[in-house]
Symmetry: C2
Subunit: 356 residues, 2 copies
């Protein structure tokens, strides 16, 4: 059987002030009137039953996400006591799926990314599942639309064949977020795709890789697994998890795994990681302004005005970003949206928690 | 006796979004923790009894101003049914004062200007009152601190003498807001002062000038005056006022009046007419930022951040103006603050009255 694990543990710091600890990015209506999490669940509906969709999230986000996807069984929400990186998150999901179905095909998706071409997305999942059946760890690579420095890249090695029209390659190398020059070289070579963080594998295969490559974590995971379905589960998880080492699935597993393949695909994917990348998804007017909410402007161009109820008046602006929420406001020029992270860090340092 | 008429009928459009129809500039706490109107009353306290202070305002502003100056007798608030310019406003005040004391010295002040040196301000009023006793129409000229194009100018003619250390000159000419070049010439000549809109005269003299120069208005005024203290006053005023022609005191009276003198004085005066001129009154930090309200900034310089409760985060800004209120927000570069007027005009045209 085919199961999806939606990772929904992040906050989406760079979308502050809209994203907050108690209002994470996946719960926000950024595109198309639905929240990112709702989109993530919606786009699976044509191919999966609600019972096949699992969500890993944090205690504090559980309620808001359950409200947004009431069709999912409550038991399919897996609560991670605290975030330890993608490897532990996926491991925790894997033992739940493994108990459900030891032969499960596990699809790992994210709750806060955008996919324009959802039909093609579902097609590639079906193809990837066939490849995964054979024991491969499949990563979805995104055909780059620009030499982005904001994503990791995967180098395609030799061809493994074609499944349902999708080319499958050995994954030769996982590259971190590159410099602009490196990004340009990689994109021009045609041999790289963006690392979307979406994976498809047999659940027994990923557990095997955890055992081989992260043996300490595997022991911790086994300790939790032994309590699944008992009253000992939650106390054990709460005791074990703080001791789990932080690790990403890329570093911890994928780079050293056997039989890793990549299927490059063009599905209009974006991680919506910052106000800059969200801007690319929203419609602009003739003056290249993107306006959300009440606005009155004089001589304003190439500006993102992302508001709610309040009126935003702009005069003589070009290339600015204005994000207005009920209790906080951001103003910065385009090109410096990444520094929102530094604002959030400053607020953390100054313990101005009301705005975090 | 010496009486003050504080004109408090304006809105202060260029301080939008802080100033609104129901929250006029004079009722705002812009400088020093008190409202502009409270400052206007406070600075008279050392020389006047509350009974000597009259206020002309509009129905809709009456309550808020009365709350801010509870020491003033309620009858001293004169309600103008609608604003018809400074000449009718002063005329209406004049008939009230004339009834109170036909020999009154009438001092006309504004409710929404800033005066740093209040002691010297009171000294010049005392000196001006002596000059006014002799039948002169006295204008307070402000020694220019810069070649501002935002103020009207008064040209000093021949010297009339010195009163209590203040030089008194014939007012030779009233000049409108000048071009930058003209402003520079005028300031460099040393012969011009800014027209502050503050006047001192005998009430009988100003009524005489109304009669001579604005005879139609004088008849209308006389009709209202005849009903003062009777139940016919309000209906008469409400009937007559909409027919009164709009006129400023400068055009309608001062330019053609006899015995007009100017006393130039340096009292740290500002009309606080825009976010630019308010900025000059507020303390700046080492990076030349003026910050009011919660703020977190990265690489922000020479910027006005005028907020209330909400957090304003700024990244990479130089020379910007950000004004944040409960239901509306303004973002513009320094130097374009005057265009706020156009924003308000646009809102009027679009009947977005909730933000007016």
């Amino acid at each position: 059987m085919f199961y999806v694990l939606i990772m929904a543990g992040g906050v989406g710091t760079r979308l502050w002030p809209l994203s907050r600890r108690d209002r994470p990015k996946q719960s926000l209506r950024l595109v198309g009137g639905r929240t990112m999490f709702e989109h993530a669940v919606d786009r699976l509906a044509p191919i999966l039953q609600p019972e096949q969709i699992f969500v890993v999230t944090r205690t504090e986000h559980m309620k808001i996400l359950a409200t947004q996807a009431p069709e999912l069984p409550p038991d399919n929400f897996i609560v991670e006591p605290e975030g330890r990186g993608t490897a532990p998150c996926i491991g925790l999901g894997a033992i739940h799926l493994h108990r459900q179905d030891p032969e499960a095909i596990m699809v790992v998706l994210t709750a806060d990314h955008f996919i324009a071409d959802t039909a093609r997305f579902r097609q590639v999942l079906a193809a990837a599942a066939q490849v995964a059946e054979e024991g491969h760890l499949v990563t979805l690579g995104i055909t780059p639309s620009s030499p982005s420095t904001g994503y990791g890249y995967i180098k395609q090695g030799e061809s493994v064949g074609t499944v349902e029209g999708f080319s499958v390659f050995r994954a030769e190398r996982f590259a971190e977020k590159p410099s602009p020059e490196t990004a340009l070289h990689m994109v021009e070579s045609g041999e790289y795709s963006w690392n979307s963080g979406m994976f498809i594998w047999r659940v027994d295969r990923i557990l095997e890789e955890f055992q081989r490559q992260m043996p300490e974590f595997y022991v911790q995971l086994a300790e939790v697994e032994a309590t699944l379905g008992t009253s000992g589960y939650e106390p054990t998880l709460s005791r074990v998890w703080p001791q789990v080492a932080r690790q990403t699935i890329d570093y911890g597993v994928m780079e050293g795994a056997e039989n890793v393949v990549v299927i490059p695909v063009d599905i209009g994917w974006s991680d919506v990681g910052s106000w800059a990348s969200l801007s690319e998804l929203l419609p602009a007017d003739e003056e290249r302004n993107i306006i959300v909410g009440p606005h009155v402007g004089i001589d304003t161009r190439d500006t993102l005005v992302f508001g709610e109820e309040r009126l935003i008046a702009t005069i003589g602006l070009e290339g600015m970003v204005i994000v207005d929420t009920e209790d906080a406001l951001l103003v910065c020029p385009r090109g410096r949206e990444q520094e929102v992270r530094a604002i959030v860090r400053r607020l953390e340092e100054d313990r101005r928690t009301e705005w975090l």
